[in-house]
């Protein structure tokens, strides 16, 4: 298992370099002059030239690519063209914000999604099922920006209960977390429902019922436990989707996280910051995928053997010896 984790972690390195090179190439060929954006309309040609030199925007495609890769090897994401400060400092501050909101949103999504998914499956075709699936459909169909605006209208403008924007206090967290989490909860709820419905029809559930086990034990230990694999997969996918969703949420609620930083940087042609954001998102997505894979092994120990054999070269001598033993 440890070997598997180390191997997956090592694989992240070439993935990140690949992502960096692709992003750099796209930005290199995209129109828009960063110097003109950073210095403004009054900048003289000499000032633009000096800016390009200072920010490493001079030279050919390959010169700049080599500079980027060398910097990455040293853990240097470059300087923001806008603020002229290291991108990494900004990213760390903003990532904490995005991470906190995404974490709360996914916790909310998991709690609501699994709870209503189970209810819906246990009482299939009942009023609870209809209500839950209806709300889930609404949650999936409702665009996140519209949901955010409606929350502001209701809780800030009409009721004046919550601040319309910002980040810091728990009151400011409610609306962004709900806007992000409801969408995820709807997806998780639907997966939980279908997975639970399938499991509840299995023979071992009938056996458990026949043994006279408590209903809650049957549902949680036997049914939910076995229904968790697709749910975990969906939660993993939702985690990556939350990072993308944070772009919209952060803009609407004026939260200074990675999502808004990425949008602002793209508008300002702050390529160093854009590269930094994309590399960070790629890194986080890779780590989240790894965590999901590890969680699989806790849910279903059979998976562990699959990971252990993956990539392990079998020793021919040992195989021969094993064959002798079995024959003998």
């Amino acid at each position: 298992m440890l070997k598997f984790i180390i191997k997956r972690l090592l694989w992240i390195i070439p993935v990140l370099f690949g992502v960096a090179i692709i992003v750099f190439t796209i930005l290199y060929f995209s129109p828009g002059d960063p110097a003109l954006q950073a210095l403004g309309d009054n900048a003289s040609p000499e000032a633009i030239e000096a800016f390009n030199k200072d920010m490493g925007l001079d030279g050919t495609y390959f010169d700049r690519l080599v500079r980027l890769v060398t910097g990455l090897c040293k853990g240097d994401l470059g300087k923001s063209y806008k603020t002229r400060t290291p991108v990494i400092n900004e990213l760390v501050t903003k990532f904490k914000v995005t991470l906190r909101i995404s974490a709360y949103a996914i916790i909310l999504g998991i709690i609501l999604g699994i709870f209503f998914g189970i209810i819906s499956a246990l009482y299939q075709n009942s009023i609870w099922d209809t209500l839950s699936t209806g709300v889930a459909l609404f949650g999936i169909s409702m665009p996140m920006f519209w949901q955010g605006l409606m929350l502001i209208l209701l809780f800030s403008v009409i009721l004046n209960w919550l601040p319309p924007s910002g980040y810091g206090t728990w009151q400011q967290m409610i609306m962004p977390v709900v806007a992000l989490g409801v969408n995820s909860s709807a997806t998780i709820m639907r997966t939980t429902r279908s997975s639970m419905l399938e499991v509840m029809r299995q023979d071992y559930i009938r056996t458990a019922k026949a043994k006279g086990q408590k209903f809650s034990t049957i549902v949680i230990r036997h049914a939910l436990h076995n229904a968790m694999i697709p749910i975990i997969t969906v939660i993993g996918l939702q985690l990556s989707a939350l990072l993308a969703g944070s772009i919209v949420t952060e803009v609407i609620f004026s939260i200074s996280g990675v999502g808004r930083y990425l949008v602002d940087s793209m508008t300002a042609r702050d390529y160093a910051a854009v590269q930094g954001c994309v590399i960070l998102i790629a890194f986080v997505s890779a780590i989240l995928n790894l965590i999901v894979d590890i969680i699989y092994t806790f849910i279903d120990p059979r998976m562990k053997t699959m990971y252990e054999s993956a990539g392990v070269k079998l020793n021919p001598k040992k195989l021969a010896k094993a064959a002798e033993v079995s024959n003998g």
Binding site: S30, P31, G32, D33, P34, L36, Q37, A38, L39, G40, D41, N42, A43, S44, P45, A47, I48, A50, F51, K82, T83, R84, T85, E90, T93, K94, F115, I119, W128, L149, I152, F155, S156, V157, N160, W161, L162, P163, P164, S165, G166, Y167, T169, W170, Q171, I174, F215, S216, V251, I252, S254, I255, S256, R260, Y261, D264, T267, A268, R269
Partner: protein, 529 residues
Amino acid sequence: MKKIIALLLALSMIFALAACTSGGGTEPATDGGESTEGGETAVKDTLTIAHKQDMVDKDPINGSTTNATIKIKANVYETLIERTVPESEMKPLLAESWEWNDDYTELTVHIKSGVKTHNGGDLTAEDCLFSLQKISESSNNNVTEKMDLAKSYAVDDTTFVIVMEETYMPVIANLSYPTAVMFDKEGYEEANGDWNAMDIGTGAFQWGDWVSGDHVTLEKFDEYHVAGMPAISEVNFKVIPEDGNRYIEVETGHADIAYEITGVDIDSAESNPDVVLFREFTNDNSYLSFNQREEIFQDVRVRKALAMAMDLQSAWSVCMDGVGRPPVGLLPDNITDSIAKSDSPWHVDYPMYAYNVEEAKKLLAEAGYPDGFSCRYNTGDNSVRMAYGEFFKNAFEKIGVTVELISLDGATNNQKLKVEHDFDIYTWGIAATNGDIDYANRYFWSKDNTNRNIMGYSDPEMDQLIEDAAREGDPAKRSELNAKVQLKALEDVAIIPIYQQEDVHCYVNGLEGFVNGAYQSPLLKYVHF
């Protein structure tokens, strides 16, 4: 089981309700404000401002000149001269007075004594010359244009002389430009020019906290050189990019001022007794023009025909949500020497070529395009300019000109217009940004290297007029030359102004002293409750 489910549902409802209702926690902007102590009402002295964009940097001379950035920096750094808005008068600020020599080649500036910088120094003539030198080495060196700083000198601690390379009258306006700020030489050298590590300005506020993308705070400078100012002890600029949310911040009491509110919120603000609306025309006109490097648009008849196809009044009614107004001249009438002023001896009514579709068709036929032609129109990504684009596309089609609208994002549009010159028709803004009409004249100067002459207009007579106007020391003669520049630009249809822009802000009732400064930057030193 049913009981358990009912219990769980009830718990989740209680949890949701508790999360919402215990929200007393919203923190209105009255914090630190109207608290009562011993029966006396304390006057609120903190200010929260909903600001559209974050400040880009703290560097006042080499840094960003975006409007959002200057709106903050203008309260921390100060210039020698202050331009009042909307009167556009040049008034003393750090300078007490200034005078020219007879041939306008030397400008003697007397600075106020006792001006303190934020790091505790005294602002001296030497500091001022050092500041000008640093500005001349920066990317915003247009404000020190024509100054011979190597020959400029300090007379004493409070007097210095700026020696000019040649007579250049816009220098006074340039000294009021927000990048022509004065600061402490010693502090600059100690911090090795790192603006993030120093606070060496002279403004009414000094730097507080800055969390990029979230907020900027400014703190009162106790030793500010104007007694009794500022009344506000702390200012918090909250970055709220969503247009609608800025007004909501004021409406719900989470901010005292909202900058740049949009047309859709004006009605709400007007009908709200707790909110005061601030409206002021800027010295910017948005205009439409043509790529005059292309043969088709070099023909003035084509430009006139297109001008006559444009109904500017109707366009404004449709596209502007009641903000701004149809243009009153080539330049707004709040610029000194603008011939749009009704009392100007050279005043002409605008538009010079009134809306007349039949006449436009005739002109186009005369120019050799009886069936019209096709062209591209770059609107950029500004929603108002895109709306105008749609309106004029339909208008041009009435005279046979087929238009393809191109709406690129700001950076790409900049590249197409200013670097590649890859466009046919475009919309941009013209302004006397520094307060002197010369700044606007340079939009028609063929030797311009600051991307103002996007349209590629080139006329030796116009170049001469612009240069003569900049050199003319006699105000009456200068006004005449400036009028000639404007008349020529109008006659040649160099550009077609399409609307005048307007600053629209709002603030809570009870706040007083809200005034705009130069560069559309409200001066918070005057604000009080």
